[in-house]
Symmetry: C2
Subunit: 296 residues, 2 copies
């Protein structure tokens, strides 16, 4: 696949996810709640998780309506986690995607409620009436999303993160934290996309390995960018890991070794796709490159 | 049905819900998260929502495993909402079910995460592997729960509540707020229980009406108890509506008219059950009485 085609595909799918979010995130929720929800999720981000869902679904010739709903649902979970993570009792951050964070704009109470409502909305979007998404697939998608967002996944990783400030973690502990905090939802994005079609056990295992590798690669690169990029490029506060005395791959391994590790994880992701037996996984391979080569 | 039998049934089902929560709310979630989750939901409350699920399921001869999971899921959503609602940026309450609130005990960040993880766990519990709960029923239960917890239901009602402090609401606006804030999840409890079995359209409509009536009755009685009972009886801070200058049924209608209104809503609930065509709705009728006659 040519790189131009891939960029065009990304732009196309980003627009389709944006349109779906525009439709499904309510304009009419009461007392400003809808406005805070929309502020927290529209017009922002690279939509990496939705792209993973859509590319994985494409690789297994999945149900397109289900895949779009899954893409929106993972993005809602991701966006809610950022809103809560930015709050004063957590990271106390004021800048996100180049804009004031939700609690700065709408107050802490509304920010907490907006996040809570977005988590519920994710499961709402996954369970439409009618038969466009078979009920068994709806249930499967809800289960994958719930388990990746909850105590064994994202929320658990955030709890470890909270407890780890100023604590010396070894690489295994750091890996465990990130596998949960960011890795679980990235991997779930791949698995949810794969669930939208028929897959062999071999392909499912391979896609799960792919998801695990890029989930970790994403965090390693995040740690690298936190020390190498300015806040303007990132659209969020740079250097905050060091400022908060948080352990990172860079503080643990050094910058060059962290860069090398990211490349190894990309290679693992490619190897998993090669072992999947899937003939249309080219976009997943390019997404792995993008995760590692991004500069923001 | 004799009142003794009903109380024995309540005690039996409360124990079964407690055992299920003990099993499904994790002991091993990382970094203290599981402990905060368990503190927030175990050993507490009357379990009214689970009892409504179980009684409604019984009325339609529903799938018992599904009903127990639905009962636990609604209680998890209820408990998470209390944890978030008690936080300093919301009601800033320090006492709940006679114990320090979760953020007082574990800090605000852990309390927010515990609530977030409990919402995810609710959908996790509803989507078990295996065939004990048919996937189509899993999807239906997830959808009902998501819509009652989200912007159109509980979270939306809380946003109205936030915005209404010190504002003169008329009865219609107050009713709309409560229909969402507490009514939606109480009604969903009934509908989720009913979804566990086969029902006629007539029965579904009647159970929906029953759920709406007791949902509102619950709130009217809550407002009455807030002014008539001491904190020790309630296990939470009494008189806080007046203190926060929040509109209530009592401030709007006066105490006697509010009591009368609660009795009317109970009668509406009974009438709905009579119109349902269901032969085994006796426990739902007694639960309506209990909602109105409770003293805490």
């Amino acid at each position: 696949m040519k790189s131009d085609d891939f960029e065009a595909w990304i732009a196309l799918e980003q627009r389709s996810v944006e349109r779906a979010l525009e439709t499904w995130v309510p304009t009419d929720a009461p007392a400003g709640l809808g406005e805070a929800m929309r502020y927290g999720v529209l017009d922002g981000g690279k939509r990496l998780r939705p792209l993973l869902v859509l590319a994985a679904s494409e690789a297994v010739h999945g149900n397109a309506e289900a895949a779009l709903r899954a893409a929106v649902a993972v993005e809602l979970i991701h966006a809610y986690s950022l809103i809560h993570d930015d709050m004063p009792c957590m990271d106390n951050d004021v800048l996100r995607r180049g804009k004031p964070t939700v609690h700065v704009r709408y107050g802490q109470a509304q920010a907490m409620l907006a996040g809570d409502a977005m988590q519920a909305l994710a499961f709402d979007v996954l369970t439409p009436d009618g038969d466009a998404v078979p009920p068994a697939l709806q249930a499967r998608l809800c289960g994958l999303l719930a388990r990746s967002a909850g105590h064994a996944g994202m929320a658990g990783g955030q709890a470890i993160d909270l407890a780890s400030i100023g604590v010396a973690l070894d690489e295994a502990s750091l890996r465990d934290m990130h596998r949960r905090k960011t890795g679980a939802l990235l991997q779930a994005s791949v698995l949810m996309g794969a669930a939208c079609g028929a897959t062999s056990a071999q392909a499912r295992k391979a896609l799960s390995d792919y998801g695990a590798a890029i989930g970790l690669a994403f965090q390693v690169v995040d740690d690298i960018l936190d020390v190498t990029q300015a806040s303007e490029t990132l659209g969020k506060t740079a250097g905050k890991d060091e400022h908060h005395n948080k352990p990172t791959y860079v503080s643990l391994m050094g910058l060059e070794a962290a860069r090398q590790h990211a490349l190894e994880l990309r290679d693992q992701a490619h190897a998993a796709l090669a072992a999947s037996g899937l003939s249309s996984a080219a976009r997943l391979a390019l997404l792995a490159d993008k995760v590692v080569e991004r500069d923001s």
